[in-house]
């Protein structure tokens, strides 16, 4: 398995797959740290991408990094504060103002879950059935179980009542669970999952 440092150097040399692997490896760390600071998932995702696009564009003039992960986190948080300020005239949250502190470098609960490497929990069938959910239910599933937003926060963001959200999620879960008993339908996700699992086994 390539170290962060060797991926970083690969990026500097213009190796696209090493660059994308760097992104792949640190995406969730940055995503959940960002989400902790501001609850706008799309802004967080866009900021991460803009950071990486900038690195890719400037790859020739970038130096060797001492600690790739902390560099990425720091630059990302700095950019997030700047972009957040641009979009909102009010003062950035204290949390973000105190950015760069040790607090931010600690793993988020989600990152800890991911680090545990429980690859066998990935389900192709589940992914297919999530995609088959009606749009609203799929959105709520992602908000509650991926982004981890509370019912209150989801209500704020979607304008629905907590009761409605609760019921929709309950319904969606029923759909997902029942269908899990059916045999998996062939999909391109199969290949990706296989590669994902193989990669993790190799690690």
């Amino acid at each position: 398995m390539d170290t962060d440092e060797s991926l970083w150097n690969g990026m500097r040399q213009g190796k696209e797959d090493m660059f994308l692997e760097l992104y792949n490896r640190h995406y969730h760390t940055l995503f959940f740290i960002g989400l902790k600071e501001i609850s706008d998932a799309q802004l967080v995702k866009d900021t991460i991408q803009q950071l990486f696009l900038y690195l890719w564009e400037k790859k020739k003039s970038i130096h060797q990094a001492e600690n790739v992960k902390s560099y990425l986190i720091t630059s990302f948080l700095r950019k997030l504060t700047a972009d957040w300020k641009k979009n909102n005239n009010r003062v950035a949250y204290l949390h973000v103002a105190g950015m760069g502190s040790q607090q931010d470098l600690l793993p988020t609960p989600e990152e800890e879950l991911i680090e545990k490497n429980e690859a066998y929990h990935l389900s192709v069938t589940l992914a297919d059935h999530v995609n088959e959910l009606p749009n609203r239910q799929r959105e709520l599933i992602f908000l509650r179980f991926y982004e981890g937003l509370s019912y209150e926060k989801i209500a704020e963001q979607t304008g629905l009542s907590q009761r409605t959200i609760y019921n929709s999620i309950h319904e969606a879960l029923k759909k997902l669970r029942l269908e899990m008993h059916h045999p998996a339908k062939p999909s391109s996700l199969n290949v990706m999952v296989l590669l994902f699992i193989i990669t993790l086994v190799i690690l």
């Binding site: 696209e16 994308l20 992104y23 991408q49 564009e57 879950l113 429980e118 690859a119 991926y146 994902f196």
Partner: protein, 367 residues
Amino acid sequence: MYPDKMNIEDLLTDESFINYCKNTSAEDVSYWTNYCLEGEAQRQLVAAAREKYLEMFYTLAFMDKKAEVERLRSRMHQKETAPVIRLDSNGGMKRKLVLRLLVASSLLAAVFFTARYFIGADDHIAESHNEVLTHYGERKNIQLPDGTIVYLNAGSNLKIEADFGLLARTVSLDGEAFFDVKQNKEIPFIVKTTSMDIKALGTSFDVKAYKNDKTTTTSLITGLVEVTLKENDNKKLVLHPNQKVEWTREEKHVAALRADTVQTHILAKREVMPEKIRLTDHGHVKEIAWKENRLVFDNDPMEEIAVLLERWYGVQIAFKDEEVRNYRFTAVFTKEELGKVLEFLKESRSFSFTIEPGEPKRVYIYK
């Protein structure tokens, strides 16, 4: 809740249970740990629900990351840095010039424009918006709810009609955009502009329809589209790849003939046919060069070039000497800032210019 009536869904919809799974609340962790101790059924239920939660979390996380990696990969390929500025002399003699350039302000302009240029294209998922606009000097890339990608050029406005994706996928455009339409045989994709409507099923094409321009152009790159000329008796044309159709509003002409209805009628049935998209001498397709971050001039008069530069860089250009309007230029620029572009054009056919700071910057062209 009564233990024997609870099932996995009940646990998963409970915030405190998820907190237990994520270990984010000491209170919730101890509650559910104690619950497990109440009996074998309870322990098994908690274990099963926790496993389902993990399965969901990892699967959702994987799905999101996969989508984001793909999005990054495609954005990387849009921002290719091609080298080279090439310039063709236009048959005129090169003359020595006296530079009346204000170096300080042009350097400032160079830095400003370079920065703005690279910030230029942004990706947006337009699900919650039904209107996207770009200012002069700004470009945006948007993904529509059906997966269609729209590259919006400077000074443009795209409206997504209500009920997009149900019976039709309709947008309205004032400006210029390149559409990469997601295939859907059931639901046609329709672009409405003032003078023409374009219908596609799954193709890629460019539409240039600035309200301030007299000419509207649709250029087809791949696939098939049907163009309806709204100011030409709703005549329908089918475009094949590498064909384009141009419609020029001849308002003055129509106004003058308004008194004579017969002649207006004849004018309305003008013959308009698809034309072949010509490659420039350098092998570029002028109509979609902007999408590749290129400015392509193909024997174009300075008058037209000025309009293009105004939109591209978000500046205002004024001619202090009218004759420069008719100077013609052929050139290709890739990711260059305004000052450089004007400098190079000058080398081919001498004129001079100044760039004055301001919001927006003003450019004055002299002979």
